[in-house]
Structures are given as C-alpha cells and as structure tokens.
Symmetry: C2
Subunit: 409 residues, 2 copies
C-alpha cells in the first residue's frame, strides 16, 4: 500500500437514514475507494439540527453531501458550498426540479461538479448515462418507471386482482408507501424526476410545472383483467420525448405490449429506457430509492467526483479462483426405450447426491429421450454421475449437459 | 455562449469504422459536450498506417483515444501516452484482458485516467457502474450476456427451431457474425470481457487464462424444444462471483428461468446484472458493440474525462413543450346491452379519425362492457370522440381511457 494516500474530506449535511447509511458505507468501502481513486475518503463533519456548524464543516471539506431534503436551508447551503469551490452531491429532487436553473448556473460559474444520481432513480445510473455515456448521442426519447411505490401497487393489482385501495394498504404495511401517499400515487414525485431527466436528455430547462401528470388512483381490477386478455401490462410511465422541434414531458398510466423492455419490470423497482438513433436503446433497472440504495448512489457520485487524479486500481486484492462450483443442470439422454431406464439413471444420480427437480420423458422407441433438470449440486459430483450414466448399456449416445441458473428467492 | 471556451484536444489512434464514427460524433455533438463539460472537444490528429506521426499527435493532445486494436503497437502507444500524462480511452479488450495489470499500474503511477467502456458491452454502461456507481457496494455476483453474436444465434434457434449452423449462417448474412466466428461462438470473446468485469467488480487481477469457458456449437434444436417445455430460456452467460473467500469466473450456455432479468434479452443485445446486498440488483441492457455503439461509448468516456472543470450545463437550448401528442388508447365503456351499441360507438370514433385495433365485448345484460384498443391518434381527437361517446344514451357510466404504448418496429 502506498503510504502517502491523501485524505478526501466529505462534509455531510443532514443526519437521517440516508446520512447514517452513507457514513457506514464510507467506512466499509474505504479500501476499495482508495484503490479506485487514489484518495482516502473521510467524513469530516456532519450537520444536524442539534449538532455541527455549517461554516466549519464547509471550511474543513473537499466536497459537500446534501441530504437535508426540501428547499431551505438545503438551497442556501448548496449554493454557499459551490461558491466556496466545493463539489456538491445531493439526492434532493425537489431542489433540483424547482431550482435547477440557478444551481446549474452557479456550478458552471464556479467550475465545480454538481452530482445528483440519488435524486432520480436511486442507484439505477440514469443521470450518469444521460450526462456522460450518451453525451455523444442524440436522444429522442426517455421512458421511465421512476416511482417504486406505484409500480409495486400496480404489480400487486395485476398479480392478485385486488383494488387500488387494497394494494396501497399492502404497500403501506410493507414500507413501500408513506402514510400520506399522494406525492407518489398522484405522480407528482415521478413528474419531478421526469423534469430532471428531460433537462439532462435534451439540455432544455424543463420545470415541474411544465410536466403533465396523472396518477393511478382511478385504475380498477377490471382494467387489469382486460389488459391480461389483450396481452398488455399496465405501468405508470414517465415520458420525455422530442416531437418535431418540440418536447413533450408527461407521466400517466400506460399499457405496454409484452415486448417492451419496461413491461417485465415488477415490484418496487425503477427502470429507464433511453432511445437514440446512434445506439437504438439502453434499458437500466434496479430497486427504487430506499435508504441504502440512495446512500450507495450518493457515494457513487462522491467517488466520481474524487476520480480526477487516477481511475486506476493501485493495489489489487487477491482472491483464489474457485474451480468447483454449484449449479443446476439440464441432462439430455438418448436411451433405449425399455423398462428400468429411468430407475437406472435415477440410482446413479442419487449415488452421487444429485437431486432431480423435473423430468420429461418421450418414448419414441428408437429415439427415446429422457431430459432432467437437477437441483444445484457441485459440478464435480454432477459430472462424475454423468460419466457413470454414460457407461450404462441403455445409452444410445453420450449424455449431454447444460447448466441451469435458478431463480433467486 | 461564453466566448472563452477552451479547446480539449483529442488524438485518435486508428482510422477504422469506429474511428470514423467517433470523429463524426464529436462534430455533431460539439455544442452539447461544451454545455456538459465547459470545454470544446476537437480531434487534433489521427494516426493511421499511411498518415500521422504518433509523437506529434501525442504532443498536441490532451487525451488519446486508442482504436488500433490488438496488442502491438496499441500497448506501446497507450503506455507512452499515459507516461506523458495523457488520459487514455480505449475499446481494446484484448489489450485490457491480457495486459491489464501493467496498464492500470502505469495509469496509477502517472495519475491519469484509463477508461474502457467500449471494451466490454459497448454503450451499456457496465464499467462506469461497477467502477463509480457501485464503488460503495459490496458486489457478490455479475451475470452477463456480453456477446451479441451468440445471443443472436441462440435467439434465432429458439424462435425458428433452426440448427446452430443455420442460425450462424443467418448471423453472418446480417453482419452479426464474422466469417471466422470462432472467437464469438467458442466464447473466448465473452471470457475476455468477463475477466475485465471480474477485475472491476472484485478488484482482483483476473486474466483471460483463469476464465473457464465453453461456447454454443453443441446446442441443438432439441435442447431448445425441451427448454420451452420446461419453461426455460437458453443464453450464453458469463458469471463472476464470490464463493466464500474465493472467486469463480466462467462462461457457458445456461438455462434461465423466465423471472431472471436476463431471460428476456433477445437478439444481438448485451445485458449485465450486478448483485449486491446493499442494492439487491441492477440490470443494464442495450445493443452489443457495433461501430456506432462503440464510438458512442468511447465518446462517453472522453466526456467523463473532460468533466473535472464543471459538470453543469452552461447554456440551455430552448425547445417548446408540445401539449397534443399521439397515443394509442384503451377505452373502457359500460353500456346498455342492446343492439347497435357497438355501431354507435364505432361511428363516433370514425367521425373523429380514431381507428380501432382490437375490441373485447362482454354482454352481461345490466353490466355489459365494451373495451377497445385504438391505433395511435392525436390525444385531442381521441378525447373529443370520448366526450361525444359519453353523451350517447346507451352509456351507463362515464367512459374511461388509459394510454397504450406501442411496440416499436
């Protein structure tokens, strides 16, 4: 390890769930961040209602993380930090969607970075992609599921056939919806995020007031039922798109055909599809904003702001390469169509500790086939069993195997 | 516009498809990049076999883009550029998977950035996400479809029931596979990419030689048929995962359950899922590497390297907000169960130029329902028609509408 790693001092404004999770992540991942950036990240001060003085934290920091939320005093602190030459990372979507013009202008004048991945889709890297990856692409349209609460409610309505009110109550019980869910279910939250995305995608100053939005309170179980008959899925979709020489930014419930990349995004997830003639389309999906997700997104932004000196891993960890791993297998056997074949194969598998999950057998006399899917098992065991099965006199051809990746539960 | 925008000089090594597309993108998107970075991007020199002198291009550049491919002279030029204090952007996966240790070490020593998004999954931002967004997350596993050629072949085998050889011939005819497809279909290309991803995810020095890989030549139409019966989808999957205190990196065909986020990725696409306890999982998908995609990814890296001065849009473009857009609609009507209802509704729709795509009618006497899906139409027309339908005497309740997002063709 290099002995002269410089500290990079992070001042944190706000001590809520996200602030606590952020400080913990910095501690846990300090070595990795040092490898990536060549600097040592340190939380140098935390401002809360009862603790800390903003001016002192600012003076001792290289970068300010704003997690207070709302407009004031967040706005005043962010402006002061940028005017003092500090990069700022924030997850405050109200502030950005209502005062974006002012904030971006001051950042530009002061030559500092203003990063805000956590303000849109949590750790789903849509800000980074629009602003950096696709800086060299003309973007025609952004479609997004940018509110996890409403996506959870619609998924439950589709899955269980329940009403909006029943699904909302479930969401509240599980912590996916707040006691007053209006901002989410009336789509104001999604509209603020789409205003931010439209600005990034098109470089146009879109404010929340220019976004048309409607929520999901009026959706009924009948809508879901007909949707299923028509082969459609229902989502709350935000859209920002070029139309001729203009722009449309809106949020409303919409049916999606099953081939659409957002159609399969279920539960409290966020996902965004970006369409561009240069690249056709990119889709990104992941969990919506929760405390740990937002803290991870904020730390990702901090790391990006730290990167300038060098993006290179300085020292590498060493992890041994594991050769024998567990996997489920599809086993394809061409066998003689005679009694006892399945029993013989099953006995060999059992002898090696291989457990069978499903079997398809087709008796076509000359070309009988036996196809099995196993539960996960060490590969060495499975291949030993397969080698022995290959020796059985009923085999017409060498057995064949393909791995199966299980659903995670 | 600020009159004192400084030039940022980009030296390009290599003049192939990607190099040509890159220079074109820089020209087309200069204004946008200036807004994002505060600097004016300029291609200051191009090195090809017949043209340019490396030392001169290096001397006049702020950053070097390496698009020569292969090991030498790419390696020598990249090392010389970094030692001269230049950031380097490359899309060269051979170089990175075989000489990663040396390149990263020199980048670290010289305090320059080495960026390589285009080397892995084209414009799908997996490098950026692993290195920056998720710098503060412990990564447990990366699953990827990182070769578009083999994903296209497997998709065609599943869709049409054809053999590997037939699907490969299709891929070659459509330009998705090379005349010698070995690197792709034997999974050596995917293995090199997984070595790079494993290094990023785990900070461990994984080389191509440590990756176990098997390709897709042996897959038969029977495998696809049984997969369908078992409800599985077949993909060539790269995996890099922690197992205890070790690491497994491998590429092989694998069956996926339909709930898996990679199961629905079809055609010549790439997709990567990153699993981490902090964030559950993120999935990113998009087109595999082609000329324009790789050039876009390279330019995205260049923009990221330009960002340090300021990430703020300096000046915004103005685009008018369009209020009346086109959309398909789902129209839900509760009607009297009597003759002529459908004809009456259809006439109103036709009068307003609204064309019907599908109809579901359920005659339940008191509670008869008529549900229609329309082709795309200007919203103002549709809502005018709906208002008039609401006046028809056969309506039992006000009509309801939900937008439908069409498949793109």
């Amino acid at each position: 390890m290099s002995t002269e790693v410089q500290d990079f001092r992070i001042g944190v404004l706000g001590r809520g769930t996200v602030g606590g999770a952020f400080a913990k992540l910095v501690d846990e991942h300090r070595a990795r961040i040092r490898r990536i950036t060549g600097l040592n990240p340190v939380v140098c001060g935390v401002l809360s209602r009862s603790e800390g003085v903003f001016e002192e934290i600012l003076a001792g920091s290289d970068l300010i993380v704003e997690l207070i939320g709302g407009i004031e005093p967040a706005r005043a602190h962010v402006l002061a930090a940028m005017r003092a030459g500090r990069h700022v990372v924030t997850a405050n979507k109200q502030l950005l969607s209502q005062h974006g013009d002012e904030l971006f202008q001051v950042a530009g004048e002061c030559g500092v970075q203003l990063r805000f991945e956590g303000a849109v889709a949590g750790v789903v890297p849509v800000v980074r992609v629009l602003q950096e990856s696709l800086a060299g692409a003309r973007i025609d349209r952004v479609h997004g599921i940018v509110n996890g609460t409403t996506n959870f409610i619609l998924s439950e309505m589709a899955r269980l056939g329940v009403t909006f009110e029943e699904a909302l109550a479930d969401a509240q019980r599980l912590g996916y919806a707040e006691a007053d869910p209006s901002d989410d279910v009336d789509a104001r939250d999604a509209a603020a995020k789409m205003a931010i995305l439209a600005r990034l995608a098109f470089g146009a100053p879109v404010t929340l007031e220019q976004v048309r939005y409607e929520g999901i309170r009026q959706i009924t179980p009948h809508d879901m039922e007909y949707a299923r008959e028509l082969g459609l899925g229902l989502k709350l979709i935000g859209t920002a798109e070029r139309i001729g020489d203009g722009l449309s930014v809106r949020v409303h419930p919409a049916f999606l055909y099953p081939g659409h990349p957002l159609a399969s995004v279920n539960g409290p997830f966020n996902a965004v599809t970006v369409e561009s003639p240069e690249i056709t389309e990119i889709t990104m999906s992941g969990p919506g904003a929760g405390g740990p997700q937002t803290a991870t997104a904020v730390l990702g932004d901090v790391v990006s702001a730290m990167i300038p000196p060098a993006s290179a891993p300085e020292e590498l960890v060493t992890l041994p390469i594991i050769e024998d791993i567990e996997s489920g297998f599809y086993l394809h056997l061409e066998v003689a169509d005679e009694p006892g074949v399945l029993a013989g194969v099953a006995r060999v598998l059992a002898d090696h500790g291989v457990s069978v999950k499903s079997v398809v057998q087709k008796g076509l006399s000359e070309q009988a086939r036996l196809v099995m899917v196993t539960h996960p098992v060490l590969e060495s065991r499975f291949f030993a069993a397969m080698a022995q099965i290959g020796q059985l006199p009923v085999m017409r051809r060498p057995p064949r195997a393909i791995r199966v990746i299980e659903e995670e539960f």
